[in-house]
């Protein structure tokens, strides 16, 4: 995140964070979670699951803001996110 100066309300703002969990053997490889993740956290893996589909893999875990959209759009109940301790914005590298 880049600002031209440190915002005045950095003390109050926290960015929610999430940890994505993938139940690989339920996945049918439709790719909706990868296409519609607003932060681009996921990516298709080259690995196969038990059914022969390519499940998604978390490439950039730090970007997840726990919006639950992957959980909502997954037709197969194969992905969900849980809340991780929020990060105060003051700890982010602001330059």
């Amino acid at each position: 995140m880049k600002f031209w100066r440190v915002p005045l309300d950095t003390e109050q703002i926290v960015i929610t964070r999430g940890v994505v969990h993938i139940i690989e053997d339920r996945c049918k490889g439709c790719g909706y979670c990868i296409d519609y993740c607003p932060r681009g956290v996921l990516e298709a893996s080259s690995r196969f699951n038990n059914k022969g589909y390519h499940p998604p893999v978390v490439r950039q875990p730090d970007l997840c803001v726990n919006c639950h959209y992957c959980e909502a759009i997954c037709p197969d109940f194969a992905i969900y996110s849980v809340e991780a301790p929020a990060q105060p914005i003051s700890e982010l590298p602001i330059k």
Binding site: V19, V20, H21, I22, I23, E24, D25, R26, K28, G29, C30, G31, Y32, D35, Y36, N49, K51, Y53, P55, V57, V58, P61, Y69, E71, A72, I73, C74, P75, D76, F77, A78, Y80
Partner: protein, 274 residues
Amino acid sequence: MNGSTSSQKHPLDGLLRTDRIPHIWCPGCGIGTVFSSSLIAIRSTGAEPMKTAVVSGIGCTGRGAGYVNLDSYHTTHGRAIPFATGMKLANPELSVVVFSGDGDLFAIGGNHFIHAARRNMDLTVICVNNLNYGMTGGQAAATTPYLAKTSTTPLGNPEAPFNLPLLAYACGATYIARWTMLHTRDLTQSITEALTRTGFSFIEVLAPCPTGYGRKNKLKASDLLKVYQEKAIVKNGANPAETILDLEQGITLGKFVEYDRPTFAQNYKAVTSD
């Protein structure tokens, strides 16, 4: 952290018959997402699980009743609404959700739909519209767009499709909304509203059928979602007669109608109490 272990538990597992998951819906099918939104809505109303029942007819969407860990009823083809009507009248405390497809609700079950809407039965009807008969091999249905290719209309569909929100409005439904499976947040909110209100609520949800409709029209599942994203026109309160569903011109989405009038149960009570 990101692996697959047996201890992983999806937040909706409590409402699912997990021994039946993975379900039969094809990769890329939107029914699973609509089903998931319905479960999130049922959970968010905070109603007791014993007081909610899900009724389905026949078809791909009709399999929904088999996956929900609530009282559920997988009925004969087209007859989900009559079964649901009976359940609601016998046990007025139940919140009855009809979860079925366009072929089941509007082709073979069309008459049941129009009469339940006319009576204002207190039901929540969620219609997953995939624009064809998916389970039987992608034949043309009552909702297939004009000139769309299906396995029974290889030269293009010569028929005009139903405008489902207008049909529901003309029949007397008191809550009408249309969303796509991509608009999961709005869809979940609409289902929650429909569950908590009294009267006949109808929600049409567009969902891709990559195997039936998509293959014949050269549309992959992700292409159909892109169409939903690009062509969606959200217009809450729009006149149902002016809503369009055209994959090229646009798809009107939103909550179109909400008003109150006495339900069948209330009217029946008023007539018989003397």
